[in-house]
Symmetry: C2
Subunit: 213 residues, 2 copies
DNA sequence: GGCCCAGATGACGCCCCGTCATGATTTCAG
DNA sequence: CTGAAATCATGACGGGGCGTCATCTGGGCC
């Protein structure tokens, strides 16, 4: 642990560095998360076991349960992590957007960029369906959905757009983005612009507005 | 087995009735399927075990494996069953539809009716997400998707509609139908007409075409 | 240095899984 | 009708993952 050298303990003056206990706790939690990401990517969610994950960290099996209650909970933690990273991006788009169209375009573009980057970083070598059979609404993920919902309400009202069934509309938009996003990841080369354009046109104008081949 | 009385074995003349072996085999397979539907509805897919299912049939645990390899396989069989029942309905809509709009309206309406009926018959008492965490593309389900794809291609061409990215478009339509359908099931009373109208307008004209509140 | 406690450890009991040797019942040949 | 063969239901069993818990280790603190 060479970092000890850089942080001489108990030196005169301030030492805000958390104690070793706290540091290993953070490190362990992160190690489990990293291992889980790798294991889910390699084996798929269903096939992965808690012991596959913990084995990869070198920790003992019991230690896993000091941090997470189950495989589901680690998965949710990973999903929450993604949502937590995406939320500010979405928020920024919402703030800078002048009208609904530019908000939608920005948000979808941001989401697809995010998707492509995640897809890259997980180094998935199995069908996405096996790695993400869930798409469960964890708190953070739900928060993202809520944010989309709220942003829709705000921007549409600002546009003086006629009132529509927001619940259905937001659900439909998210569904389109999700599905087109998935299909986008299956094509080579990955065409974020094309996919985003398609999704935006689909939502704003339906079939007649779609790009022609 | 009173039915024996109605079908005297080896009587003179024809007896096309399959032997007893065959009959119990069919009955067992069906019993397992029925039990599985009930158990999935009550416990949710994840919590359900093979033994929960087989216990409900009164058969021995080993017998289960004479018919299905795993819980997943029974679930897929149930999904296939649904798809197999829905396919002809979809086909009929496709055949009778004159243009894309009427095909779409008919298909979505049929799907939502089907959804509502299934929802009823499964007597689900837990969140749909726990009962259907999968939505796996079993062969029959995939066939339905393919049929939608093909019908879109056929009807759009017949309409002399400009060529669009059919893969994205079909995926987006299915996504909208699925999501709006799900949300429809969560509302009381269940409004099939309203949901179908929303989905159709969404697909045909996007946001501007949506019904106003 | 010595005490205390957070937390790491891995053995343990539990339960579910899938298999398989066994036995019961049906089918069929003579 | 009878006995052999085929079929398949049965439930006991070994295997393995799960979650717990008594125990031990070492960091925090005086």
């Amino acid at each position: 642990m060479s970092n000890i050298a850089y942080f001489p303990a108990r030196g005169p003056g301030e030492d805000n560095r958390p104690g070793k206990r706290e540091r290993t706790k953070v490190a362990n939690r992160q190690a489990i998360l990293d291992a889980a990401r790798a294991v889910f990517g390699e084996l798929g969610y269903e096939a992965a076991t808690v012991r596959d994950i913990i084995r990869r960290t070198g920790l003992a099996s019991g230690t896993f349960y000091n941090y997470y209650k189950s495989k589901e909970e680690v998965f949710d933690a990973l999903a929450d992590d993604g949502a937590r990273r995406f939320r500010p991006i979405l928020r920024a788009e919402s703030d800078k957007a002048a009208d609904f169209e530019s908000f939608l375009r920005g948000a979808i573009r941001a989401y697809f960029d995010f998707l492509a980057a995640e897809h890259e970083s997980w180094r998935i070598n199995r069908p996405a369906g096996e790695v993400f059979p869930h798409a469960r609404a964890t708190p953070e993920v739900q928060a993202v959905f809520d944010e989309v919902h709220a942003a829709f309400a705000k921007v549409l009202e600002h546009d003086h757009a006629p009132a529509v069934d927001l619940d259905y509309f937001a659900a439909a938009c998210i569904a389109v983005a999700r599905e087109v996003g998935d299909k986008m990841l299956e094509r080579r080369p990955i065409d974020v612009d094309g996919a985003a354009d398609f999704a935006v046109r689909m939502i704003l104008g339906g079939l007649p507005a779609l790009p022609r081949l």
